[in-house]
Symmetry: C2
């Protein structure tokens, strides 16, 4: 491939990436609604740890694991905001383990 062919390929891959990120966002919104209805906290550090383990396990390179985890740290942060924005008025107070310890509305 020459450089223009490589760039066309990247543009096509990016469209697929955008679609997957949106599919992920829709699923995260669904979880957000379930959490809201059952008063579960948005921030769940144990689940976020499992997400990182899953992507590291799936990673066959050449993207280095550290770079993948760096990117996923940002993806997780964005998705957490998506959940919070579903209902900004409702934010359970959580303890250091992320468990809801008191509810306010």
């Amino acid at each position: 491939m020459d450089i223009n062919e490589c760039r066309s390929k990247i543009d096509e891959l990016d469209v697929l990436l955008v679609n997957l990120l949106n599919e992920r966002t829709r699923t995260v919104q669904e979880i957000g609604r379930l959490k809201r209805d059952t008063r579960m906290p948005v921030y769940e550090p144990e689940r976020e740890k499992l997400v990182l383990e899953n992507v590291s396990r799936a990673n066959q390179g050449p993207l280095p694991d550290a770079e993948l985890r760096y990117l996923y740290g940002h993806i997780i942060a964005v998705m957490r905001n998506v959940q919070k924005n579903l209902n900004p008025a409702f934010q359970p107070i959580t303890d250091s383990s992320g468990l809801a310890v008191e509810l306010k509305e």
Copy 2:
């Protein structure tokens, strides 16, 4: 879907995302080799602008455009490092428009 089904779906989407990110990395490495061989600069702000325009155009939501561009800013930065790491000894000096103005080795 209940919350566990949603999480299984996210785990599956993440495996697809990791594979696409690696396919993108491979293509970026190919570009990096072409740039190295033709002494083109790694940093090309005009191309990075086009990448952001492409993903914004492809975005049908629900991920907000600002969040998508935020994530892509990090993806682009990681990919730029991937190119630089192909040959750390060779870094063309670029002017403010990203054009190589002097070569050092």
